[in-house]
């Protein structure tokens, strides 16, 4: 018995480099790395799928606009309303526009846009590509000499990368308008004063850092959704898993990136 156990252990060690779980993690990391490398290779290589990019932009950007706008508007009103008591304690209610603009431009608008996009677009991409993988449509495309990566992944990632910043712009605008509605009702602040105070509080660094962040968020949402869908398996169960995993991973990655971006931006702000 003991001899047989020893043989089995030896065979297992020979099968896995470290352990089964660690090997899987490293393999997954390599696949992610290879996926990114392939994307950057494919993005500059013809044929360029402009029509598909536009279609995806429509799906990601235009179709998401109502949801994003409504969310942004509500965020503006709610955040202003919730911030008022804290400022009113110091008799500083007049600083609400400044506070709201900093919060919306620096953090709320990019994050809310990215989370909504991750929930709506990320899951959509994961499910779409997952079902294509499960139904072997991707394999069929490869067989028919169509580059499925270029057509499915590159177009979607490009669409999310460029549409999320645009959506963030809308979110900033709509959220600030929502905040103005609340401020003008309660503090009777004029629109000119409100706009003056909003732009007095923020800097170019705030705007540009937000835009750059949303590019990164969009890229992440696209890449995570495509990766999870492209490599999904296990039939119809895998489709649901890919969709779910796309949303969870994309949101988690967005928050991690937000944290890292904050550190980098603070470095620039201190300079």
């Amino acid at each position: 018995m003991g001899l047989q156990d020893n043989k089995a252990d030896t065979a297992r060690r020979q099968k896995y480099v470290v352990t089964r779980r660690l090997d899987r993690i490293f393999l997954e990391l390599y696949k992610i790395y290879a996926f990114h490398v392939r994307f950057f290779k494919e993005v500059f290589v013809p044929p360029y799928e402009f029509k598909e990019v536009v279609r995806q932009c429509y799906e990601v950007g235009v179709r998401s606009l109502p949801l994003i706008s409504l969310t942004g508007f509500i965020i503006g009103i709610v955040f202003t309303n919730q911030s008022r008591p804290s400022l009113a304690e110091f008799g500083a209610s007049s600083w609400l526009p400044s506070l709201v603009s900093i919060a919306i431009v620096r953090a709320l608008a990019p994050l809310v846009t990215a989370i909504i996009a991750a929930g709506r677009v990320g899951s959509n991409i994961g499910a779409e590509l997952g079902s294509m993988r499960v139904t072997e449509q991707i394999d069929a495309m490869e067989v028919s000499a169509t580059n499925p990566f270029n057509f499915l992944v590159v177009t979607r990632v490009l669409a999310t990368t460029f549409m999320v910043p645009a959506l963030a712009m809308y979110t900033i605008f709509v959220a600030l308008m929502g905040a103005y509605l609340n401020v003008s009702q309660n503090e009777l602040t004029s629109f000119t004063t409100y706009i003056t105070q909003v732009f007095e509080a923020i800097t170019f660094l705030d705007i540009f850092s937000s835009i750059i962040k949303t590019f990164i968020f969009g890229f992440t949402i696209g890449m995570v959704g495509c990766y999870k869908g492209y490599y999904s398996s296990k039939g119809t169960e895998g489709v649901g898993k890919a969709a779910n995993s796309s949303v969870v991973t994309a949101m988690f990655m967005v928050f991690i990136e937000e944290l890292l971006a904050l550190q980098v931006i603070n470095l620039f702000r201190a300079m």
């Binding site: 536009v54 279609r55 645009a166 706009i195 732009f199 800097t203 170019f204 705007i207």
Partner: protein, 343 residues
């Protein structure tokens, strides 16, 4: 390209365009607000302490934002050089002798640089100029002063508390005044006395008023003195004469003083008589000699009267004197006789 694709492309184009427009408007508004797109000059100043001033903080002149802080660098051993961007429009209002100080937008607001002062005689500030700085009271100093005031206030309130306690206990003059009923009675009587005194004062003032009315009565001395110009002129003349008399008296006194001063000198006869001791001695001896001589002269005269040659003369004169006396007696009696007859 079919219609659906066309529609999608147009929608995406509009979507992206609006997003870009929002972005551009935001950038332009922010740039306009922060005066990034207008011409500016650079002015610097040196502070001992910038109190947490940051790059991008505002620069104010007369309460108006005219620029931003561009650079903050260490200067010398421990000083700090602050470089500011100032709008060209505001350049003409800032003079080379203007000063800069660290201030804040509000009680808890951002730090700012406030440019103030400057005289019209001085030239306007130029690009690269350095303004003088003025140290300002920082929050720590204010808090220290407030702390000091708080301590003083605590001491004062403590003292007031002690005073009120003593008042309640009836200690001290005021406390006794508040609590002692005897003193209250005394106070009442004092007030009554004061009332009586005031009544007397009223009476006195009434009498005084009556007296002044009498003084003003026409024909009285006081009224004449005050109103009659003839009396006044006479009085004036009298005063002039009195003044002249006084001047004469003064002159006389001066003369006397001069004379008396001469008496003290020995260059005149009276001075010699009064002051020269030697002359006095001589005079005394002379007087003694004269006395001795007169005694001897008396003796000689007595001897002469006894002399047979002069005896007749002296008898004759004695007889004439006797006759004159008798005649005078008779005349007196004659004068007294008619008076007795009348009686």
């Amino acid at each position: 390209m079919n219609t659906a694709e066309n529609k999608r492309s147009i929608m995406v184009g509009i979507f992206v365009l609006i997003a870009i427009v929002i972005f551009v408007i935001g950038i332009l508004t922010l740039g306009g607000q922060q005066k990034r797109f207008i011409e500016s000059i650079t002015v610097s100043t040196i502070f001992e302490d910038v109190e947490g001033l940051k790059i991008g903080n505002n620069v104010w002149f007369s309460g108006v934002k005219i620029g931003t802080v561009k650079e903050i660098n260490f200067y010398g051993e421990s000083q700090v050089q602050v470089v500011m961007n100032i709008e060209e429009e505001a350049q003409k209002y800032i003079r080379q002798n203007s000063k800069a100080r660290i201030s804040s937008e509000s009680l808890i607001g951002n730090k700012i640089i406030e440019i103030f002062g400057g005289t019209p005689a001085a030239e306007q500030v130029q690009d690269g100029d350095m303004l003088a700085s003025e140290a300002n009271l920082n929050t720590d100093d204010i808090m220290k002063t407030l702390q000091e005031n708080n301590k003083n206030l605590a001491t004062i309130t403590g003292n007031f508390s002690e005073i009120s306690n003593r008042l309640v206990r009836g200690e001290g003059t005021v406390g006794t005044l508040l609590t002692d009923s005897t003193l209250a009675q005394d106070f009442k009587s004092m007030v009554a006395s004061l009332e009586s005194t005031s009544q007397n004062a009223v009476r006195a003032s009434r009498d005084l008023s009556r007296f002044t009315n009498k003084l003003n009565t026409q024909g009285s001395l006081a009224d004449n003195l005050l109103t009659d110009t003839t009396i006044f002129n006479r009085l004036e003349q009298s005063m002039v004469q009195l003044e002249q008399a006084t001047q004469s008296a003064t002159q006389m006194a001066q003369n006397l003083q001069q004379a008396s001063s001469k008496f003290n000198n020995e260059n005149n006869a009276v001075g010699v008589l009064l002051n020269d001791q030697q002359f006095a001695n001589q005079l005394q001896r002379t007087m003694q000699n004269l006395e001795t001589s007169s005694q001897k002269f008396d003796q000689n005269m007595e001897a002469l009267q006894s002399n047979i040659l002069f005896r007749g003369f002296f008898r004759k004169r004695e007889k004439e004197q006797q006759e004159a006396a008798e005649e005078a007696q008779e005349q007196l009696e004659e004068q007294q006789q008619p008076i007795q007859d009348n009686q």
